[in-house]
């Protein structure tokens, strides 16, 4: 078990910073995801953690001891970490059992001990019957299980995962998300998980660190990241977001361009002066057709917007509406299919003030 701290971590590739002054503390047994679009520096961060790359500035400490800095680099093989790769990297010239046993070869164990550990781990990942197969004879999901077993059998202090599910098809991906979380609950290994898929990060992680252009933008639990995004980038990258622009009036309300006043969530502290951006999640907006219903919601602390349905798309489990507001801005709303509104219909869109979150422009 291990506490990992990244302090001022910086890595440059030909002058552009791939990772820029990154600070992150990961507690013992925690599962942290590095989330961001491609090129945000998440994989570079992971490879810095693994020791495949050396930082240009800053340091990485494991349990307080420096393992990476500009002056020092403990090689990957002496970090007591394991890693799962995007390509699975199951060695095609070894059987499943040989793949899993490989890391134990460096541990000075007897053959019996090795066999016992391999058998146990293959059981954990449900691959016991396939132990003599070669990777060419395995499906993508099975290969990923081999990679998991191979990484876990060496009892690492830290487990690193680099987009492990991105090569799997959608169904298998969902199944493996739960599998990864299950294995984490079982082994409680400090884990750093790199992904560009927010759903994957949400399903697996204790905390999510969102990266943008090499910088850490926000760290927090899945709900916090989703409900209380700090920046426009986080709001738009993690889930869908409507961003409205306005200015604060004197008494704590936000005055939108078309004169509509809305109340804001006070969780984020007082909003800044000048132009203010507000994030509204499409899922958190209700549509009501009648004025009475709208007034009722307003009494319960909802902000009301009047508008017209411009387009609706039925997804089966939800309907995606495009609502044109009085100001001409459009609002995206995702509503349950039990309620149906027609295109051209005038409606009220209602969003609770707690769900109107001020975000920083990047």
């Amino acid at each position: 078990m291990a506490i990992v701290s990244l302090r001022g971590l910086t890595k440059k590739f030909t002058d552009t910073a791939a990772v820029d002054d990154l600070n992150l503390e990961i507690t013992d047994g925690e599962f942290v995801s590095l989330l961001g679009p491609s090129g945000c520096g998440k994989t570079t961060t992971l490879r810095l953690l693994a020791g495949f790359l050396q930082p240009d500035a800053g340091e990485i400490r494991v349990d307080g001891k420096v393992v990476s800095s500009a002056a020092l680099l403990v090689p990957p093989e002496r970090r007591n970490m394991s890693m799962i790769f995007q390509s699975y990297a199951v060695w095609p010239h070894m059987t499943v059992a040989q793949n899993v046993a490989y890391g134990l070869k460096f541990k000075k164990l007897s053959k019996q001990e090795i066999d016992a550990k391999v058998t146990k781990l293959l059981g954990v990942v449900h691959l016991a019957e396939l132990k003599d197969r070669y990777s060419a004879e395995l499906s993508g999901g099975q290969q990923q299980r081999v990679a998991l077993a191979r990484a876990l059998v060496v009892e690492p202090q830290i487990l690193l995962m680099d987009e492990p599910l991105s090569n799997l098809d959608a169904n298998l991906r969902e199944e493996m998300r739960f599998e990864i979380r299950r294995l984490h609950e079982e082994f409680k290994i400090t884990t750093v998980y790199v992904t560009h898929d927010q759903a994957e990060a949400m399903a697996t992680s204790d905390r999510i660190a969102v990266l943008d252009r090499g910088r850490l933008v926000q760290v927090g639990g899945p709900a916090e990241i989703f409900d209380r995004p700090k920046t426009r980038f986080v709001a738009e990258f993690v889930g869908k977001a409507n961003i409205l622009t306005g200015r604060m009036d004197g008494d704590g309300h936000l005055l939108l361009a078309d004169g509509v006043k809305i109340r804001l969530s006070d969780a984020g502290g007082p909003p800044p002066a000048g132009e203010v951006l507000v994030c509204l999640r499409p899922h958190n907006i209700m549509l009501v057709a009648d004025q009475a219903g709208a007034r009722h919601l307003a009494d319960q602390g909802y902000n009301l917007f009047s508008g017209t349905i411009r387009r609706s798309t039925h997804f089966g489990d939800a309907v995606d509406y495009n609502v044109e507001l009085g100001s001409g801005a459009s609002l995206r709303v995702i509503a349950p299919p039990s309620q149906r509104f027609a295109s051209g219909q005038s409606i009220y869109a209602a969003a609770h003030c707690d769900n109107c979150v001020v975000v920083r422009d990047d």
Partner: protein, 574 residues
């Protein structure tokens, strides 16, 4: 397993404690890199030093002497003429064959490819020798046949002439162009050609206006390749040109090594050859690497074959005719010479003998030692060469340290050093202390290792490129150091590519003549040198036996590798 760490402060204190955490296998990589650089710089340094300095100091007098002497200028001129013609003929024949084999419904394609490969593997000096038996003006079998059929007095063809030399050199240079163009043709998608046909061009016009321009960079590249090949050949010009009083640059350099040796002039005369090669390779790279032709590099897409119609069989006969010049006729005459008492007579029971074999293997003084030396050097060079090429290709591919990719420049450098120039450099470098290798087989070993490095390196490099680096990262992170990872994971995965590299080096070594001819000593003769010497003595039967031995071993190695690696080695050779 405990993590060995220091604190940051600790690391700041001294370089050594920081160094301790660096890659512990670093000495292996640095050692391989330094060995490579040493191998490449030493002969070149020796050439420049010997051509510019002597006891009395610096002087460019030797260059002046080389470039004002009419004999030397004549040799340069001959070389330019010969190489240009060889280039043109090789491109014409190689490109035509490549196009026929890849894009048309010509029958017997596998056989044709195999025969082209046989021409490839045949040492040019052996082909040249066989052609002296076939088309020598007096005793040559083809000329005798001509006289018999026509009743004429003279010879149809005198192989000891400039056209004869060009002809033979082209026979053994066109396979280089063939493999290059065949690769390109396989990459040009039929879609591009279809587009032209839809616009109304017929298939010949399509071939002319679409396929040819797409292949043009490869054609120019092929010309340069064949030109360079003939520029650096020694055996064929020596066997066919010298009797006609025809010197090329390589034979002229060799002549400067004969008594009284003028090493300084040989060194000075090597420099233009070196510079020409460098320049041409630079041009070739530029042509082949130019943008806009990258469409050719696609996945190839759908390919349909052009139907030759009634022309199929005449074309096949034509192709087999060409290949009979490079393979059938020379092999036949060698076999006949090996098995007959008098090679010029018909092979009848009376004329049949195994004496040549027993004489070659058991009686003739030099052959046993030469065979032993050749195969010892072949095995040693192939094995050590593959190891060194593997390490260097690994360093450049994984960019193990700053500047690592410049190493590929050194590994490929011998491409621009003709064998005989390399030999001049090594001769000068190793005939004096501190390291006197001349007179031993080790100077040959160094020469072969250097000369074959580009083939081994490019083979290993392309093999490593095809292996995902994560496969290796996966073993690093769970406890294997770099070297262990290379041995346990990367090398086994690269096995078939590395075996191919081994066999290319081996075959290259056992047929090497142009460097060996300057570096051998009585105790370190190799088969190619013995063949060259025997030519002076007119020992045709023994030469044929030794030549066939080289061919048989080369083919056995290729077949063995194909069987072992389960893939077509020739297809991967660049």
């Amino acid at each position: 397993m405990a993590i060995e760490t220091g604190t940051l402060d600790h690391a700041r204190q001294g370089g050594w404690s920081a160094w301790r955490f660096k890659d512990p296998t670093l000495p292996v990589w640095l050692g391989a890199a330094l060995l490579l650089i040493f191998l490449m710089l030493l002969p070149l340094g020796a050439i420049f030093r010997a051509s510019l300095w002597d006891e009395s100091g610096f002087s460019i007098g030797r260059y002046l002497e080389v470039f004002t002497n009419e004999q030397f200028l004549k040799a340069i001129w001959n070389t330019v003429i010969i190489s240009t013609w060889v280039g043109i003929i090789s491109v014409a024949v190689g490109a035509a064959l490549a196009w026929l084999v890849t894009r048309t419904n010509l029958p017997w394609k596998k056989t044709i490819r195999a025969l082209v490969m046989a021409s490839f593997v045949t040492p040019p000096f052996l082909g040249a020798f066989a052609w002296t038996l076939l088309a020598g003006p007096n005793a040559g079998s083809l000329n005798k046949l001509y006289r018999y059929v026509t009743g004429a007095e003279g010879a149809l063809f005198n192989i000891f002439s400039m056209p004869g030399l060009i002809f033979v050199m082209a026979l053994y240079s066109f396979p280089y162009v063939f493999s290059m163009i065949a690769n390109v043709c396989e990459l040009i998608s039929s879609d591009l050609e279809d587009a032209a046909e839809i616009l109304g061009a017929n298939k010949w016009r399509t071939a002319w206006s679409i396929t040819l321009p797409l292949a043009l960079p490869a054609l120019l590249g092929g010309f340069i390749l064949a030109f360079l090949q003939s520029l650096s050949l020694f055996g064929a010009p020596a066997i066919l040109g010298l009797p006609a009083g025809l010197h090329t640059i390589t034979t002229q350099i060799w002549a400067l090594f004969q008594y009284p040796p003028r090493l300084d002039l040989a060194a000075a005369f090597s420099v233009p050859l070196l510079l020409a090669t460098m320049g041409l390779i630079a041009v070739q790279k530029k042509i082949l690497g130019r943008k806009g032709y990258s469409t050719v590099g696609g996945k190839g897409g759908q390919k349909r074959l052009i139907r030759l119609g009634w022309g199929r069989f005449p074309v096949l006969l034509f192709v087999l005719g060409i290949l009979s010049l490079s393979v059938f006729l020379p092999y036949w005459i060698l076999l006949k010479a090996a098995l007959s008492q008098a090679w010029a007579m018909p092979l009848t029971w009376d004329n049949f003998t195994l004496k040549n074999l027993s004489f070659a293997f058991f009686e003739y003084g030099d052959t046993q030692l030469a065979i032993y030396n050749t195969f010892k050097l072949g095995l040693l060079t192939a094995t050590l060469g593959t190891v060194l090429a593997t390490l260097v290709a690994y360093i450049t591919n994984r960019n193990l340290f700053r500047g690592a990719r410049y190493l590929s420049f050194f590994a490929l450098a011998p491409l621009v050093i003709p064998g005989i120039v390399l030999a001049v450099g090594l001769f000068i470098a190793y005939t004096r202390p501190p390291l006197v290798l001349y007179g031993t087989v080790w100077i040959l070993f160094v020469a072969y290792l250097t000369k074959e490095m580009p083939i081994g390196f490019s083979q290993a490099e392309s093999t490593f490129k095809s292996i995902h680096p994560e496969l290796e990262d996966a073993s690093r992170i769970i406890g294997a150091n770099r070297l262990t990872s290379l041995i346990d994971v990367t090398a086994p995965l690269a096995r078939s590519g590395l075996i191919a590299a081994w066999s290319f080096i081996f075959i290259g070594v056992i047929r090497e003549l142009s460097a060996s001819i300057l570096l051998f000593a009585p105790k370190s003769k190799v088969v190619s040198v013995v063949i060259f010497d025997l030519k002076e003595e007119g020992q045709v039967g023994v030469i044929a036996v030794l030549g066939i031995l080289l061919l048989v071993v080369s083919f056995a190695v290729i077949l063995g590798v194909q069987w072992f690696a389960g893939r077509d080695v020739v297809a991967t050779r660049e």
